[in-house]
């Protein structure tokens, strides 16, 4: 079923899904860790850390892309060792697009996870302690399952946002069909080309359908999760 899309257009769809999924996958563990630090610890400089986490939300995406280029580009402080020691390049690659997307949606996951964490009853964790559970044990057996609705919400939000991420991706990873030309970039290119409106409309419709599908899936998972957690 081609739905009237050309192979290039399908590539853009596939790439978008890949980039969004990779960006969520790579963000989850750091986001949980960050949510923990912000919600449960008293390290000095927490407020500053919180502000830094939210920076991608308030700064223009192109600026984020530019900053990533400075840091993770082949001459950047992180990009240079990555390239010289591991042969990893991020600019012009799908991984680079995923990184840019991950950075832009990181604050969304952290917020949702933090909220989920704050709703975990610390009394249950205390009970687990008295029953002999050490810190990692009770995190895995009690805290994590109970905060999973928050993690799910964060992942879904980040996935949906990631499907639409444009400014940071185009600035950092550039617009390479087959590598980094996700749906938003493809739509943008189409709108820039005289006569490309029909293609843009098709791709936009697909984008919309993907987002709706993602939300429905999330709703289904959330309900299942609610039952599993014993909330009817």
């Amino acid at each position: 079923m081609s739905l009237g899309l050309s192979p290039e257009e399908w590539t853009a769809v596939r790439l978008s899904l890949e980039v969004a999924t990779r960006s969520v996958a790579v963000s989850l563990v750091p986001a949980v860790a960050m949510a923990w630090v912000l919600a449960r610890t008293r390290v000095p400089g927490r407020t500053l850390l919180d502000a830094l986490v939210h920076l991608p939300l308030v700064v223009p995406p192109v600026v984020v892309g530019w900053a990533l280029l400075m840091l993770f580009g082949i001459r950047g402080p992180i990009g240079a060792p990555l390239h010289d020691w591991f042969g990893i390049r991020l600019v012009f690659t799908t991984n680079g697009a995923a990184l840019a997307t991950a950075v832009m949606s990181f604050p969304l996951i952290v917020r949702a996870v933090r909220l989920g964490l704050e709703h975990v009853d610390t009394g249950l964790e205390a009970a687990a302690r008295t029953l002999g559970a050490g810190p990692l044990d009770r995190f895995v057996t009690v805290t994590l399952p109970l905060m999973s609705p928050g993690i799910l919400a964060g992942a879904v939000t980040a996935f949906a946002a990631g499907l639409g991420e444009f400014g940071a991706v185009i600035t950092f990873a550039s617009n390479i069909p087959g590598e980094t030309q996700t749906l938003p970039l493809a739509i943008y290119s189409a709108t820039q080309t005289p006569g490309g409106e029909a293609m843009a409309a098709r791709l936009a419709a697909i984008s919309f359908a993907l987002a709706v599908a993602g939300l429905l899936l999330a709703e289904l998972l959330a309900r299942r999760m609610g039952r599993w957690l014993g909330r009817g």
Binding site: A127, A128, T130, L131, A133, D137, T141
Partner: protein
């Protein structure tokens, strides 16, 4: 053997200011024996739950020392603080705190899985049978009633094979019906578990039913420590100001007379007769005889409806629970009873210490502390 000594000052805070509570200091020490139930009893806010938290390791007091069975769990002077997960002091909380994402069976096994290999204790089936929760095993905590949840919480704590069982007002959030349902299980547990138990409560009937020793707390300090029976006779304690103040007697069931609907109980000073009960002959029991329910007669009364009429000797008069009333101590053999009389009656009867009188006991509260049937 559990030894506890704590000093902790709670800071005043906006929350406390709203309750007009300036914050208070805990400054107490007590000890409880190897086995049996020690009740920490006192009004709400007297610090008893704080003591429990400190023993469990969930709270670090400003100064304190907790020693269990010779092992130092906490010693602030030497910087020793064993983490709660290593103390093996399982706790039953007022709000059960069952893990909502796990089934009842998994909840029960939570502590069991983390108990050291050499720990001894009851088995899974035994505990499930003891608490009557067999039919709940595959359910989730969300669908259980308050009483069922508390029973599961008890089972979970027991199965963790602790060295000390801590209970923080486990029945306080249950309504009367649920309490009546759960209390017998606690009694059963007390006999079956053979564990030292530290039981925090503000309900005296729970103390009567379960406790061997009583530590009386008020405003962060220990007022008195001792057996339930001994403390019940102290008229200088706030216990005596209660409506149900009176002597607690250890008894044994002597026999039943179903035809007449009566049961005979023996205590140190003689026998008492109650309406028929179903506890087996020979089982231990505990009776509370409210001072209000004891009348004194200088001559043996005749044609009286009450069955329980015992010869006694006045051993003391004094300690007024109210301006116009006084406690009269009555010795019945080696046992003692308290009677609460008006000063006027005392004067009228010309009661003096040493006088031989009759104790007329109108009603008796039966608190089961016997072995299970």
């Amino acid at each position: 053997m559990l030894e506890v000594a704590l000093r902790h000052r709670f800071e005043a805070s906006a929350w406390r200011a709203a309750r007009r509570d300036d914050g208070f200091a805990l400054d107490l020490a007590f000890a409880s024996p190897e086995a049996g139930v020690t009740a920490l009893f006192g009004p709400s806010g007297c610090g008893k739950s704080t003591v429990l938290s400190a023993v469990a390791g969930l709270l670090r007091p400003q100064q304190g020392r907790v020693v269990l069975g010779g092992e130092v769990l906490l010693d602030t002077a030497r910087g020793v603080m064993v983490a709660p997960e290593k103390r093996r002091c399982a706790t039953v909380f007022q709000d059960a705190r069952l893990f909502p994402h796990l089934s009842v069976a998994t909840n029960l096994r939570y502590g069991l899985r983390r108990a050291p290999r050499d720990a001894t204790g009851p088995g899974f089936e035994e505990v499930v049978g003891l608490l009557g929760i067999d039919h709940l095993l595959h359910r989730r905590p969300a669908g259980l009633s308050g009483g069922e949840r508390q029973r599961v919480a008890l089972g979970r704590a027991l199965l963790a094979r602790p060295r000390l069982l801590l209970m923080d007002e486990p029945l306080a959030s249950l309504d009367a019906g649920r309490r009546a349902e759960v209390l017998p299980f606690l009694t059963r547990l007390r006999h079956a578990a053979r564990l030292p138990i530290l039981y925090v409560t503000h309900a005296l009937d729970e103390v009567d039913a379960l406790a061997d020793r009583l530590v009386l707390l008020q405003a962060g300090r220990v007022l008195a420590e001792g057996s339930v029976e001994t403390l019940s006779l102290r008229t200088d304690l706030p216990l005596a100001a209660r409506r149900d103040a009176g002597a607690v007697l250890a008894c044994t069931v002597l026999g039943h007379d179903p035809a007449r609907g009566l049961t005979r109980l023996g205590f140190a000073g003689g026998e008492l007769t109650l309406p028929l009960r179903d506890e087996p002959v020979g089982s231990d029991a505990r009776l509370r005889i409210r001072a209000r329910d004891v009348a004194v007669a200088t001559e043996r009364p005749r044609g009286l409806s009450t069955q329980n009429l015992l010869p006694a000797q006045v051993t003391g008069i004094g300690d007024a629970p109210s301006p116009h009333e006084t406690f009269v101590r009555l010795a019945i053999g080696p046992a003692t009873l308290l009677a609460r009389l008006t000063r006027d009656s005392v004067a009228r009867l010309g009661l003096v210490p040493g006088q031989a009188v009759w104790a007329v006991i109108k009603a008796v509260t039966f608190d089961r502390s016997g072995s299970p049937s």
